[in-house]
Symmetry: C2
Subunit: 199 residues, 2 copies
DNA sequence: GTCACCATACCGACCAGTCGGTATCCCACC
DNA sequence: GGTGGGATACCGACTGGTCGGTATGGTGAC
């Protein structure tokens, strides 16, 4: 902990402030000066902990991905039937995405502004996460629990599209709680995977 | 038509070039200088037709929204049963979104960079479009064709999330054609709306 | 003393938008 | 049918300002 005697360490505070500003005004429209002012320090402090502005983005992404990945692994390790595990995982990813809506929003809006190398790294991590999700779908398809006439990766992209879009419409003062949205989304996903589709 | 004796009018050419560059590198990372150089003119020419860089974005959005809206209206005017109309509309919006993936990508990534007034205008147009889609879902719910235990607007946001996310994974050299993706997406949507869900 | 931590001053690059000017087209009018 | 003059289309140099990043200096802890 440095001289700034706040309860939170400076790097974390900088990340929190940057996340909020990025989500509000966008990465490119937020200057480093604004970030450090909102955090009550100067640029020297920020560049002591982060080599570049891009590092802030990178950190925000990785923090979010790490959390989601850990939760998914815990859920997948359960012994329930596939449909139950997928439902739990789907609802959970919605709830955590809403709980960290700023991070998720920034992720979507600004990933393309990173350098190609960094983009590759982030995409790889994201891809690995999706693979795990997909394996759940495939497991259910092999077992006959889910319909098999639709590609598993398409289903995953379909569902995560909906998740990524949450920031565009979800409001915490709206009619639905995060849990309700999670349950509905998971219901829709499971329902669309039931066998014997219509003509 | 101006002096530049090309087949295309300059404003359209500028829009096309800008769309491609915005989709490739992002709105903020694309300078006006790059746009006009790629179009073979100078800045004076661009500012003769567009008052500001933002106007390019605005035009791209409105062009896309206008097209999608016209197509949706034509489909909704049909006399087929609700499920059939919704399926057609859903598949169609996927196909046209893929056919104009650059526009759709730019739309998503850069809408938040517009001025608040412009954002409101775009959101209002988008909202109106979603309303029409939602009315289809509600019609089916009233008729008992679709399950009624899930809010119609949530279903619409769910589906359009998936549509908006197409640019993140769809590749024209992939295994699936746009039509196939459209059919799959529409199948998933209709399937998730079937009544009598699991426990 | 030295090292982590942070402030301050400053640099070089870039960029949206402006503005005076020029070339070309259109058309009324003789 | 030429001609004058205004409108349209476009050029390109310039500017005011911003921004990411750096270099240097100070200061307290151990």
């Amino acid at each position: 902990m440095g001289r700034t005697g706040d309860g939170e360490a400076l790097p974390q505070r900088l990340l929190a402030v940057a996340t909020r500003l990025f989500a509000e005004k966008g990465f490119e429209k937020t200057s480093v000066q604004e970030i450090v002012e909102a955090a009550g320090v100067t640029k020297g402090a920020m560049y002591h902990y982060f080599a570049a502005k891009d590092d802030l983005l990178q950190e925000i992404y990785q923090r979010l991905l790490r959390m989601q990945r850990e939760r998914l692994e815990a859920i997948m390790a359960g012994a329930q039937p596939v449909a139950r595990r997928l439902h739990t995982a789907a609802a959970d990813v919605v709830v955590t995405a809403i709980a960290n809506l700023d991070d998720a929003t920034v992720f979507l809006q600004s990933m393309h502004l990173l350098s190609p190398d960094r983009q590759r790294a982030v995409r790889a991590a994201r891809r690995e996460y999706h693979e795990r999700f997909r394996s759940l779908v495939e497991e259910g398809q092999r077992a006959g629990t889910f319909r098999g006439d639709v590609p598993a990766d398409l289903v995953v992209d379909y569902f995560f599209g909906a998740v990524h879009h949450l920031g565009a419409w979800f409001r915490s003062d709206g009619r639905l709680t995060p849990q309700q949205v999670g349950t509905h989304f998971a219901d829709l996903l499971l329902s669309s995977l039931r066998p014997e589709p219509g003509p």
